[in-house]
């Protein structure tokens, strides 16, 4: 009783799989849901008229003009490699240097651009400013910068929330992004 078992030819399976693979390769994009996260201030109307006086010493001013040139605390600057450390020193000054901030809660990093400033330059500087703050938070929470940002991304996990709260305690993220001036564009 030789029963012939029917067999499906599978030599072409690889070809079919390749075809499918090529289809998916071409039609799909890698999801990119990462970037620099900020919270916008409340709507312009709802805000009471600006009457808050911030002392000069508590402001770290960064200005960029329409040709992407930089003015830090009133001084033109080309090289921004030290900026991150400067911002950290400014925020954590705690009144030691009379020229710098009173305490982290009062310290504000003011970032003002022009309407003609390119997005690339804006991101570059926002990255430095946020980097300085994340460094401070990470240090206070006793984790690395990358770990802190990872925790901050997913606060639904209790362990992450704990790291986040520990890092943020007493140091608000005071980055003020001013409306761009009308010159340029």
């Amino acid at each position: 009783m030789a029963r012939t078992t029917p067999e499906i030819p599978n030599a072409s399976m690889a070809d079919i799989a390749f075809l499918l693979l090529t289809f998916f390769l071409v039609t799909t994009t890698m999801p990119n849901n990462s970037g620099l996260s900020i919270a916008l201030p409340p709507p312009p109307e709802a805000k009471p008229p600006e009457d808050v006086k911030i002392q000069e010493r508590n402001m770290f001013k960064i200005q960029v003009n329409s040709s992407d040139a930089l003015l830090i605390e009133g001084e033109p600057r080309e090289d921004i490699s030290n900026l991150r450390e400067e911002i950290k020193a400014f925020v954590l000054n705690n009144g030691r240097n009379p020229e710098s901030s009173d305490n982290p809660e009062k310290a504000v990093v003011s970032f003002k651009t022009d309407r003609g400033t390119s997005h690339k330059r804006f991101i570059e500087l926002l990255d430095v400013i946020q980097g300085a703050y994340y460094d401070i938070y990470a240090e206070q929470a006793g984790v690395t910068n990358a770990k802190f940002r990872e925790a901050a991304s997913d606060l639904a996990v209790p362990a992450n929330k704990e790291i986040y709260d520990k890092g943020r305690a007493g140091i608000p993220l005071n980055i003020s992004i001013a409306d761009p001036s009308k010159v340029g564009n």
């Binding site: 599978n10 399976m13 690889a14 799989a17 390749f18 499918l20 693979l21 998916f24 390769l25 039609t27 799909t28 994009t29 890698m30 999801p31 990119n32 849901n33 990462s34 970037g35 620099l36 996260s37 900020i38 919270a39 916008l40 201030p41 409340p42 709507p43 312009p44 109307e45 651009t113 022009d114 309407r115 003609g116 400033t117 390119s118 997005h119 690339k120 804006f122 991101i123 570059e124 926002l126 990255d127 946020q130 980097g131 994340y134 460094d135 990470a138 690395t144 910068n145 990358a146 940002r149 990872e150 901050a152 991304s153 997913d154 639904a156 409306d179 761009p180 340029g184 564009n185």
Partner: protein
């Protein structure tokens, strides 16, 4: 010389029987990790790089706005434009667009909507700040400037 001659006579073949498995593995990888493109993007998207990235965990709570020069200048001109879903919009339309996006979400999650701005590196701050002001009016204040990961020595800190 004879030593080498012997070797050349040995027939070498790469076994191909496992090729379908390898290909299937690749296929599954791509199927799982990628998403189908829902809209065709009609603006330039040279996304800038940064180091201090944060991830958005829930994709359903993200709404994308694409900003950049149109890829077809003959049709749409050279000025940077805002694309939402399939159409170009003006900054004044953003409030309506945000409300549409919010109404698609369940009521308890509407305030958690994050707007991801995918902005071309050459776009100007003027247009982006107009968008930001409209987003503030629409009360969608969670914002993400989409960037790619930059590799540098400071990353591990």
């Amino acid at each position: 010389m004879s030593k080498f001659k012997k070797k050349t006579q040995v027939k070498q073949e790469i076994p191909t029987s496992s090729m379908p498995d390898v290909v299937f593995m690749l296929l599954f990888f791509f199927m799982v990790t990628t998403e189908l493109r829902e809209t065709s993007i009609e603006v330039k998207q040279g996304i800038p790089r940064a180091t201090q990235l944060r991830k958005l965990m829930r994709k359903s709570l993200v709404a994308n706005l694409y900003i950049g020069e149109p890829t077809k200048p003959a049709l749409y001109g050279k000025e940077p434009k805002i694309q939402a879903d399939d159409v170009f919009i003006e900054p004044k339309d953003i409030v309506r667009w945000v409300n549409e996006k919010k109404s698609e979400l369940p009521e308890n999650e509407r305030e958690q909507l994050t707007v991801s701005l995918k902005v071309d590196r050459d776009a100007k701050r003027g247009l982006i700040s107009d968008v930001e002001i409209e987003l503030r009016k629409a009360n969608a204040r969670k914002l993400l400037y989409s960037t790619l990961q930059q590799k540098d020595d400071e990353e591990g800190r």
